[in-house]
Point group: C2
Chain length 212, copies 2
DNA sequence: GTCTATACTGAGATAGAC
DNA sequence: GTCTATCTCAGTATAGAC
């Protein structure tokens, strides 16, 4: 890979991690990287495709590790029950190891999630492992109604996004900066309990009658 | 309020609910509303302040209802224990009633959350009730360590954001469209179980030793 | 094959005429 | 209170230098 291309990728990843995708202009990237504006469009075609390549070059090992761990969890449990915690950990922890190798990547991904850029860009890189994780999770929770299960997956992805982003939206609440692993540990505890909760009783979904 | 201003507010709210804040240009808004571009800057000053006014005019009653319900929950429990479910419901349900009155508002707010616009705009409208809700939740969970509690609040806000947004990022998972109340009911079940989970054991936060 | 210079379109913002 | 004209900066496209 040419030096120019490399510099663009590294600089863009860092700036997007710091400021977000929308707030990072191509002109800001080229200024910091010391390259020409058109070089971005020569090497990548567009801002969106640049984003795609930043993800592509780093997400591969993470997802491979995820699949390996998920397979191991399923193997270890054999025909017996699968533990929710193990599945979630297998899916979430590999991101932390990527963070050790390349520090900007986790906040970078967190930013993208927070900005709602998953559908257009990230999904294509994540869909395979995500489906795999969902299947494992379904085996861990065979009695949960399908609709309830589907909603809980949404709750999970929301919580994941905000956790990876780090700061979250209410910094004054004092989210102490633990390492990524401790953060994921707490998230796994929280989500596992949520997934294991009994189905929602129908009357909970009714409007409350009393008014104040 | 002048008719021009009203038309801008209504049109902008609808378009942002449909397409998101970033994707909705002022020129698109004025075209649909049938007004002049400069009218937006005359009445509101900027796109951001327009956003602020759309929120301001609707969030008031919602937050008043939230405070009323939170107070009622605390009153009913007196000196006894407070139920997590009651607190979360008191905070989340009033949004659903706003949805009945003005259908575009919930997806509008969901979009903003999904786009990560909370810190700049929404926080100032929500901070008061949020702090109040956090205090009530703390009373419901007196034994949870502060740091664990803080993280769980982050997990909650992430899950909330994605839930309000409706579709979420993985539509192929088949999130059936229940009404807002059933959705909130499921969310309350999930979050309550998560909040009540025992503290995360330290060893869960350690790196796993085995590799595949 | 790589990279530079420059121009095009559409965004939000602003000044000043009416 | 409203509208026209214009400014700056964004992402994008292309012609041509090396």
């Amino acid at each position: 890979m040419t030096d120019t291309k490399q510099k663009i990728l590294d600089t863009a990843e860092r700036l997007i991690a710091e400021q977000g995708y929308a707030a990072t202009s191509l002109r800001h990237i080229i200024a910091e990287a010391g390259v020409n504006l058109a070089a971005i469009h020569y090497h990548f075609g567009s801002k969106e495709e640049l984003l795609d390549e930043i993800i592509s070059r780093k997400i591969g090992p993470v997802n491979a590790e995820r699949v390996a761990r998920l397979d191991q969890v399923l193997l270890e449990s054999g025909a017996g029950p699968v533990a929710v915690e193990k599945v979630l950990e297998a899916f979430l922890m590999p991101m932390g190891e990527a963070a050790d190798r390349t520090p900007a990547f986790v906040p970078f991904m967190g930013r993208l999630m927070a900005e709602g850029l998953l559908p257009a860009v990230i999904r294509k890189h994540m869909e395979g492992v995500f489906i795999r994780m969902v299947a494992a999770l379904r085996r861990a929770l065979p009695d949960l109604p399908e609709e309830e299960f589907a909603w809980r997956l949404h709750f999970m992805s929301g919580a994941m996004a905000h956790t990876m982003c780090g700061a979250g939206h209410f910094p004054e609440l004092g989210a102490a900066e633990g390492g990524f692993r401790s953060r994921v540990g707490r998230l796994v505890t929280f989500l596992s309990a949520g997934f294991r909760a009994p189905r929602t009783a129908p009357e909970t979904t009714e409007p409350r009658s009393e008014e104040r």
